[in-house]
């Protein structure tokens, strides 16, 4: 069994009377690229900040690279890279000064890789950080997080405020560096990390709704279009695993989140009536996320 780079067990965190995270448990396998997905305010950042010992848990625990997050010490951070959309970097330093400042802290800092990353990012070395655009600052943070070849790279909503081109470049870089590094990346937009993620966890209102590998998720979610003999009518009590039900003429379409091809026709006939044809299509990660999110909000 693959050991976990991050193990979260029954995590609770409250801010005032607001439960930011409520009993969340999940695990990020070593070597995985784990996408923590959820709408804004779902508890992604709180979970990540707790994992990084930036804030302490109220209950439960987080283990990062085998260390309780509350015990994470300087040595542990030589193996952990962290990039956040709202990270405060020392604005008065230039890009070159910032990297020179960080170098001595990391025994594994790779000057060649730093050079390559700077080449990729096209960051002006003499420009002060406070004069960089948001996208450039994120690039700098990523450069600083990758140059020491971390065992765990944690990215908290790194794409917020980035234009499409920078996002594309960012993803290319992550793909290039993926390998021995375990990646934990949070986002409210799955489309950005579809090509990278090997695992996904879906979080909403501080609770983890599911966690699985992308392979398994892709296999169990399908968009289904059922063409009926007569006019389609939305069933009163559709199966729980049929989400986002819609009708157009004689066609009923939905997303089946527990897709079972062998049983689908009988089930469709039983719920919808006589079936003429069934079309099945795989669903993009973004569509899975939006469907599930919409369904949860509807239930709420």
């Amino acid at each position: 069994m693959t050991p976990n780079a991050v193990e979260i067990d029954g995590l609770w965190k409250k801010f005032g009377r607001f439960d930011a995270v409520s009993g969340l448990s999940m695990s990020v396998p070593e070597g995985a690229a784990f996408a923590l997905i959820g709408p804004n305010g779902a508890g992604k950042t709180t979970t990540i900040k707790t994992a990084m010992n930036i804030i302490g848990p109220d209950r439960g625990s987080v283990t990062v690279l085998g260390v309780d997050s509350r015990q994470l010490a300087a040595d542990d951070f030589t193996k952990i890279g962290y990039v956040s959309e709202n990270q405060d970097l020392p604005g008065g330093l230039t890009v070159a000064q910032f990297l020179a400042y960080l170098r001595p802290f990391y025994p594994t800092w790779d000057r060649e890789l730093e050079g390559a990353l700077l080449g990729w990012s096209q960051l002006p070395p003499d420009r002060r950080i406070r004069n960089l655009s948001h996208g450039m600052r994120v690039k700098l943070a990523l450069t600083a997080a990758l140059a020491f070849r971390p065992k765990l790279l944690v990215l908290d909503e790194p794409f917020n405020g980035l234009d499409a081109l920078v996002r594309e470049e960012f993803m290319e870089l992550l793909l290039g560096e993926a390998g021995e590094t375990t990646l934990l990346i949070s986002s409210h937009d799955l489309g950005d990390i579809q090509g990278v993620a090997t695992h996904v966890g879906f979080i909403d209102q501080g609770k983890l709704l599911f966690q699985e590998s992308m392979e398994a998720l892709s296999a169990r979610v399908r968009e289904v279009n059922v063409t009926l003999e007569g006019d389609a009518v939305l069933p009163r009590h559709p199966p729980e695993n049929w989400l986002d039900l819609k009708t157009t003429g004689s066609v009923v379409s939905f997303v089946d989140v527990r897709f079972d091809e062998a049983r689908l026709r009988d089930r469709a006939a039983a719920v919808l009536g006589p079936v003429r044809r069934i079309d099945i299509r795989p669903v993009e990660l973004r569509a899975i996320f939006t469907t599930i999110a919409r369904s949860i909000r509807k239930e709420a």
Binding site: A74, F77, D88, P90, Q97, Y101, F105
Partner: protein
């Protein structure tokens, strides 16, 4: 790691550190200029303004250094870097030492050397001031800044602290007035032991800062630090309410190595009533001039003290005492006299403070001398007890100051180094009726100083003027404006009203000398005067 963080902070804050250093050097230069031209008011004003500027520069430099890597917050970069928290704190402390204290040390040392003081004296005074400010300002500011996330929070918290301090002062004063005390916020301001509550205050605040820094940098316990530091600040403020007995006991302990002296004080039932001198009022208070001249205190403080001492409609009673056991040449100084009048059953009918009592044993005076302790009794109380035989109890906290070898300087135009007094110059004062002796010393002004004019050619001597503002601190308590103490004493040679003539007058000034005798405190003990059958009506003053 420490060096790396320090280097980063120096890169980011060098302009601020430079300005702070510049402000300190400018202040040192202004003080030097002001010392050479003591009558140039604009220089004095500029020097005083520069003190405020240096204070602000220090505070903001410290706060900015801390806020480069703040403790509160969840967005700061250092939290996810391989930075040991102890290293971060060490780097901040080093930065403050380098950016604030090193220039201060250089400025103070330079200030001492420029005025011609020996390196050891100048360096000693500079180091003591540095340590003083480290405890008084740097540590509390470090702690305060570490509890806040940015300068805005720091300023808001600072203003809140300032306003609360004022409110606390008002409340303490009101409570003290209602309780019949004089000054609650600084009841020992005029006494030689004032350094003890001041030191306790500073130590409490610094301890609070150290606790806060430890909590913040080792565990990021922000709420706990934000609770404990103010608690220490409150404790610090309350240090002024430490009982006198404890404070004087501490002073006694600090001087315990001195052998006890056979000082005794007894009620002198056979003494005549006190006779007021011409022009003297029972409320006369003569300590203020010495406080201004020897301690550099603002003249305005005296009127406050005088007013507080001048109770409305009180009756002043002069208790006669016989004082003995004071060695020739010493000064016996009463730091505090607590007077009680009790019935034979022990019921206290009056409890109050005696006024200033001091006894100077000249070389030729008798070993036992008579003195009067004046006490002010509220009129109603006086009327109710005036003819009642009561037990008098006076609890004295006494100090002895021993005479040091006299020093002298030319009355006019002297510019000399005098041992224990520093560099002194003499000149006529602005009114032209006194010789002003101005001294600068890398240390403290003496607790008592007597001066007189003497003409060696004719052998004439003017009467001696004794000034006492005791200070028993083992270190220089006042760290502003710089590491040097300045004092000025004036000795008369002409009566402007023409009522008196001095043996050494204008005609002798060119050959006259100022003879200065400093006194050094060396003994602090308590004594009790206890006498039954005292009727207060017997001891009101007679008009002279």
């Amino acid at each position: 790691m420490i060096w790396n963080i320090l280097k980063k902070d120096l890169i980011l804050l060098w302009p601020m550190a430079g300005l702070t250093a510049l402000a300190q050097f400018a202040m040192a230069a202004l003080m030097a200029a002001s010392d050479t031209q003591p009558d140039a008011q604009y220089l004095l004003l500029a020097a005083r303004l520069s003190v405020a500027l240096v204070f602000l520069a220090m505070v903001f430099t410290i706060a900015f250094a801390v806020h480069q890597d703040p403790i509160p917050g969840t967005r700061q970069d250092w939290l996810v870097r391989p930075i040991r928290r102890g290293d971060l704190l060490a780097a901040k402390v080093l930065f403050v030492l380098a950016a604030v204290h090193l220039p201060m040390l250089i400025a103070d040392l330079g200030g001492g050397l420029v005025r011609g003081f020996p390196v050891a004296d100048a360096a000693g005074a500079a180091l003591i001031r540095n340590l003083n400010l480290l405890v008084m300002i740097t540590l509390p500011t470090l702690g305060f800044a570490a509890m806040t996330a940015n300068i805005t929070q720091f300023l808001v918290a600072g203003v809140a602290y300032f306003l609360l301090s004022i409110a606390g002062t008002i409340v303490l004063n009101l409570a003290a007035r209602l309780g019949g005390q004089e000054q609650a916020t600084n009841p020992l301001f005029w006494t030689g032991v004032a350094w003890i509550p001041q030191t306790v205050q500073r130590a409490a605040l610094a301890a609070g800062a150290v606790v806060a820094l430890a909590l913040l940098y080792s565990r990021r316990r922000i709420l706990l630090a934000r609770s404990l530091f103010p608690a220490f600040a409150v404790l610090s403020a309350l240090a002024v309410l430490l009982p006198w007995e404890w404070i004087f006991a501490l002073q006694h302990t600090a001087s315990a190595a001195t052998p006890d002296a056979p000082v005794e004080a007894v009620f002198d039932a056979h003494a005549p009533r006190y006779r007021l001198a011409a022009g003297e009022t029972p409320d006369a208070y003569d300590m203020g001039a010495a406080q201004v001249q020897l301690r550099g205190r603002a003249a305005g403080d005296i009127s406050v003290e005088t007013q507080s001492r001048r109770a409305k409609g009180d009756v002043t009673v002069f208790i006669p005492l016989r004082l003995g056991g004071v060695s020739a040449g010493d000064i016996l100084w009463s730091d505090r006299a607590v007077v009680q009048l009790k019935t034979s059953s022990g019921k206290v009918l009056f409890r109050g403070r005696g006024d200033d009592l001091k006894l100077e044993r000249g070389d030729g005076t008798a070993p036992v001398v008579r003195a009067y302790e004046s006490i002010r009794i509220p009129a109603l109380v006086f009327e109710s007890i005036r003819n009642q035989p009561l037990t008098l109890q006076i609890d004295y906290s006494l100090s002895l100051l021993d005479r040091q070898p006299p020093l002298s300087a030319q009355a006019l135009g002297a510019d000399v180094a005098l041992p224990g007094l520093g560099h002194c110059s003499t000149d006529r004062d602005e009114d032209g009726d006194e010789i002003a002796l101005r001294c600068i010393i890398p240390g403290r002004a003496p607790s008592c100083l007597s001066t007189r004019l003497e003409d060696p050619a004719s052998g004439r001597r003017n009467p001696e003027t004794l000034l006492c503002a005791p200070d028993y601190a083992p270190y220089v308590v006042k760290p502003f404006p710089d590491a040097l103490s300045r004092f000025e004493v004036e000795t008369p040679f002409r009566d402007r009203l023409g009522l008196a003539t001095y043996p050494v007058g204008v005609g002798q000034l060119s050959t006259a000398k100022v003879v200065i005798t400093p006194y050094r405190p060396h003994w602090h003990r308590t004594r009790r005067v206890l006498s039954p059958g005292v009727r207060v009506a017997d001891w009101t003053a007679e008009k002279g």
